[in-house]
């Protein structure tokens, strides 16, 4: 049975109706997985960056590792879909703060954006995050996404260890560096 337009990917019913699958299949190989380079191409072609410049490769690497649960260095279509909806959400946030459509936001707007995303962080933490991601005092869309990806990955890594939901975690040295390095 031939499903139109889907070169060699998984063929369970309904999947090929998904427009996202077209972008994904165009770059994924026979194994139905994409790596950071392919993700970059895929996102650029899909236009998720809207009017903004496409993502840089390092940001794409971060995105792959954020969802790379089996540590394969690649993501499958379901993970890609998950990423897509997360990115869309973050993009909406960015747009709402980039009032002059310059493609950048300032650190204060980043603070507000993080708060509306549900991150309750103290001012010092937000300040150091803003400093880390600004170039000449402004934060580009690409860096904003990199920041969000990292925040989410770090939050997930913390939550996984906070089994008692105390908001506090005990780390041994080895555990700490492994935990941080796998983000």
């Amino acid at each position: 049975m031939q499903y139109g337009g889907a070169p060699g990917g998984p063929t369970f019913p309904g999947q090929t109706q998904d427009p996202l699958y077209g972008y994904f299949a165009a770059v994924a190989g026979q194994d139905g997985q994409i790596d950071a380079d392919e993700l970059q191409r895929c996102l650029t072609q899909s236009g998720i960056a809207g009017g903004y410049k496409p993502f840089n490769l390092e940001t794409c690497r971060l995105m792959v590792s954020m969802l790379d649960r089996d540590r394969s260095g690649t993501m499958g279509f379901n993970e890609f879909k998950e990423l897509w909806s997360v990115l869309n959400g973050w993009r909406q946030h960015f747009i709402s703060f980039d009032s002059d459509r310059s493609g950048t936001v300032d650190p204060q707007e980043l603070q507000k954006a993080l708060t509306t995303m549900g991150f309750r962080l103290n001012p010092q933490t937000v300040n150091s995050i803003a400093k880390r991601y600004s170039t000449s005092g402004k934060i580009t869309f690409d860096d904003y996404i990199a920041c969000c990806v990292k925040l989410r990955a770090l939050t997930d890594s913390f939550r996984r260890r906070d089994t008692g939901q105390q908001g506090m975690v005990n780390f041994s040295y080895d555990d700490f560096i492994q935990c941080v390095m796998t983000v």
């Binding site: 770090l154 975690v169 040295y173």
Partner: protein, 191 residues
């Protein structure tokens, strides 16, 4: 008993401990001028990147370049002047010597076993598994071994994480207890 004691080694400060002696100023000045292509008097990230080789015929890791420049740039100008450059030169030369020392099979890359030797030579006591993680995270060539530029960056990050862990481990028992916000602020600036 601290599980992570280490004596100062390469990268513990701005540069490996027992390092190369500085060559004379005129030699360094010649190098500086050649690297400072636009003759601005300051070597930028991209100028330094172009001057360095990682042995793989691909551009030197820009993140490593940024780490090095920011270590020596005392004026927040995103570059180094001649005086700061002498520190950069020594730092990189020392890392070259370290890399050569531990690349025992002279392959131009450091594999897992050589990495274990190197880190234990710096005084770290790390699990076997950690070395796989480090290679996976920093190896940009994707060959399961680590090139010169990625090796430097991996060691810099490891050192920074160790330093910050120590700062929180006030009773030096190898354990810390941190809140979510502490965790974020500890780590965000490093990785």
């Amino acid at each position: 008993m601290a599980a992570y004691s280490y004596r100062p080694g390469p990268g513990s400060g701005p540069g490996p401990a027992a390092g190369a002696a500085l060559p004379d100023q005129s030699f360094l000045w010649n190098v500086f001028q050649r690297v400072d292509k636009d003759r601005s008097g300051v070597i930028s990230d991209s100028e330094l990147q172009q001057a360095l080789s990682n042995g793989t015929w691909t551009p030197f890791n820009p993140v490593t370049v940024r780490s090095i420049i920011s270590m020596f740039d005392r004026e927040n100008k995103a570059g180094v002047n001649f005086s700061e450059f002498t520190g950069v030169w020594k730092y990189i030369t020392d890392w070259q010597n370290v890399f050569r020392t531990y690349d025992r099979d002279n392959s131009g890359m450091i594999d897992k076993n050589e990495l274990k030797q190197a880190l234990s030579g710096f005084g770290y006591r790390l699990s076997d598994q950690f070395h796989d993680i480090l290679i996976r995270k920093f190896d940009r060539q994707g060959r399961g071994q680590i090139a010169f530029d990625d090796f430097i960056q991996g060691c810099i990050v490891l050192q920074r994480l160790t330093d910050i862990f120590r700062r929180y481990d006030t009773d030096q028992d190898g354990w810390i207890q941190v809140s979510y916000e502490q965790y974020l602020s500890m780590v965000f600036s490093i990785v």
